[in-house]
C-alpha cells in the first residue's frame, strides 16, 4: 500500500513540475500510474479508495475542479482492471494506454466545453507532442511495478 501511495505521490509531483520545465507538454502521469495499478492490482477495494483520494488531491493541487478527477480515476481503474490481464502483451497495453489518454482528453474536452472555450487544435497538438514523454514514464512505472509486484510469482508467462 505504501509503495502505491509513493508511486502516486511521485506521479502527482512530476505532473505538476514537468509543465514548468518543458513548456507545451501535457503529462498524463497519474493516468498512466492508475492504468498500471488497474493491470497489476486488480479490483482491490483499498485501491478504489486510494485512486479516488488521489483524484481528489489531484484536483485540489493541479486544477480548479472538485471531485471530478476522483470519479475519472476510479472509472479508469475499474475499466482497466475489468478489461486487462497481466498476461497481455506490453505493446497491446501501450496501445490501450494511448486509447485511455485520448478518451480522457475527449472527456475533459467535453467537460470544459460546457463553460469555457477550449482550443481543440491546441489540445490535440499538445497531446500528440507529449506522447513520447508519457510513453517513457509509462514504461518506467511498468518496470517498477514488474519489479515490486510480489503477486507476479503466482502467474506463469
Amino acid at each position: 500500500m505504501i509503495f502505491k501511495i509513493i508511486i502516486l505521490f511521485i506521479s502527482l509531483l512530476l505532473e505538476q513540475i514537468i509543465p514548468n520545465l518543458f513548456k507545451g507538454v501535457l503529462p498524463f502521469f497519474m493516468i498512466s500510474t492508475i492504468f498500471l495499478l488497474g493491470i497489476f492490482y486488480k479490483k482491490q477495494k483499498r485501491d478504489y479508495i486510494l485512486v479516488f483520494l488521489s483524484g481528489v488531491v489531484y484536483d485540489l493541487v493541479c486544477t480548479d475542479l472538485v471531485l471530478f478527477h476522483g470519479v475519472i480515476f476510479v472509472l479508469t481503474y475499474h475499466f482497466v482492471s475489468v478489461i486487462f490481464n497481466k498476461d497481455h502483451n506490453i505493446l497491446l497495453k501501450l496501445l490501450c494506454y494511448y486509447a485511455t489518454i485520448f478518451a480522457y482528453v475527449f472527456v475533459m474536452f467535453l467537460f470544459y466545453s460546457i463553460f469555457s472555450t477550449v482550443d481543440y487544435y491546441n489540445v490535440l497538438y499538445v497531446t500528440v507532442k507529449s506522447v513520447i514523454l508519457n510513453t517513457l514514464y509509462f514504461l518506467f512505472i511498468y518496470v517498477i511495478f514488474k519489479l515490486f509486484n510480489h503477486n507476479d510469482k503466482k502467474y506463469t508467462y
Binding site: 513540475i17 514548468n20 493541479c62 480548479d64 471531485l67 474536452f109 467537460f111 470544459y112 463553460f115 491546441n122
Partner: protein, 262 residues
C-alpha cells in the same frame, strides 16, 4: 416474473449507485467550477503547499530569469519612486499604480480552461479582477487568490458574458468598442459595436478603457488586423492581433492599485 423483477440484486444496485454518485460528483464539480467562488479552505492549504514546491523548482530552473526579474523589479521600483518625486515637485498627483512581478508556477489547466497560476497571492496585495500584463500587452485578469498563489484567467478565454470596453486609437480620434471574444482558429480578438463612420486603419492600437475599472485604462491589448462591416454598415467588427504568446509565459506583471514594495 414480478417477484424476480423486484428482487434485490446487490451487484446491479452497486453499479447504479456508483453511476448516480459519479454523476452527482461531476455535477458538483461543474457547479463549483462555473460559479464565481473563492478557493475553499482545504484548497487554499493544498495550493500553498504546491506553490512552495513549484517555486522551489521554478526558481532553480530559471535562475538566470530570476536574476533578470530582480533587476527589472528594482529598476521599476526606482523609476516609480523617481517619477513620483518629480511629480510631487511640480505639484502633480502621485501615481498610485504599482506593478507586482510574478512567476508562472502552474500551467496544468492552461490547455483546458485558459488559466494559469502565479506565485503571488493576497499576501502580496493581489486582488480579484486585477489586470495581468507582460512586456507584450494584456495577458488576463486575476481570478481566485490564495495566500501565496493566484489564478490568472487568460484574456483569450474571454466570453460574451464578460465583455470589455476598449478604445481604438485612430489617427485623430479615439473610437470605442467592445472586446467580445477570441477566435482560436484565427488567433485574433473580436471587437464589436465600433461605429461604422469612424476611420479605423490596420495597425491602430487597441487599449482597455477605464469604463469598467480605473486600473484597466490604457493597457495595451493589440493592433487592428482587419475590419469587417456589419449590420448594414452601421457598425464595424474589428479583428485584433495580440503580440502576447500565450503558450510561452514565464513572468507576468500584476497591475496593483496600492503601493507595494517587496
Amino acid at each position: 416474473m414480478k417477484k424476480e423483477y423486484f428482487k434485490f440484486n446487490s451487484e446491479k444496485s452497486v453499479v447504479y449507485g456508483v453511476i448516480i454518485l459519479s454523476l452527482f460528483a461531476i455535477l458538483i464539480s461543474l457547479g463549483l467550477t462555473i460559479s464565481n467562488r473563492r478557493y475553499l479552505f482545504i484548497e487554499k492549504g493544498f495550493k500553498n503547499v504546491s506553490s512552495y514546491v513549484n517555486n522551489f523548482f521554478v526558481n532553480n530552473m530559471y535562475s538566470r530569469y530570476k536574476y533578470n526579474s530582480n533587476v527589472i523589479t528594482s529598476k521599476i521600483e526606482y523609476l516609480v519612486k523617481e517619477n513620483n518625486r518629480l511629480k510631487e515637485s511640480v505639484n502633480l498627483k502621485e501615481n498610485k499604480n504599482n506593478y507586482i512581478i510574478s512567476e508562472v508556477i502552474n500551467r496544468n489547466d492552461s490547455v483546458w480552461s485558459n488559466k494559469l497560476n502565479i506565485n503571488k497571492g493576497y499576501k502580496n496585495n493581489i486582488k480579484k479582477y486585477m489586470p495581468v500584463i507582460n512586456q507584450e500587452g494584456l495577458v488576463g485578469f486575476i481570478g481566485k487568490t490564495s495566500k501565496r498563489q493566484s489564478e490568472v484567467r487568460l484574456i483569450k478565454g474571454i466570453k460574451t458574458s464578460d465583455m470589455l470596453s476598449v478604445i481604438i486609437e485612430s489617427e485623430n480620434t479615439e473610437v470605442m468598442g467592445i472586446l467580445s471574444s477570441y477566435d482560436n482558429k484565427k488567433g485574433l480578438f473580436k471587437i464589436t459595436n465600433v461605429n461604422g463612420k469612424n476611420n479605423v486603419k490596420k495597425g491602430d492600437k487597441v487599449l482597455l478603457s477605464e469604463y469598467v475599472n480605473d486600473l484597466y485604462g490604457g493597457i495595451y491589448v493589440g493592433k487592428v488586423y482587419y475590419e469587417e462591416s456589419s449590420e448594414y454598415g452601421l457598425n464595424k467588427t474589428l479583428w485584433v492581433k495580440s503580440d502576447v504568446n500565450f503558450d510561452d509565459l514565464l513572468f507576468l506583471t500584476v497591475v496593483s492599485d496600492k503601493w507595494y514594495l517587496k
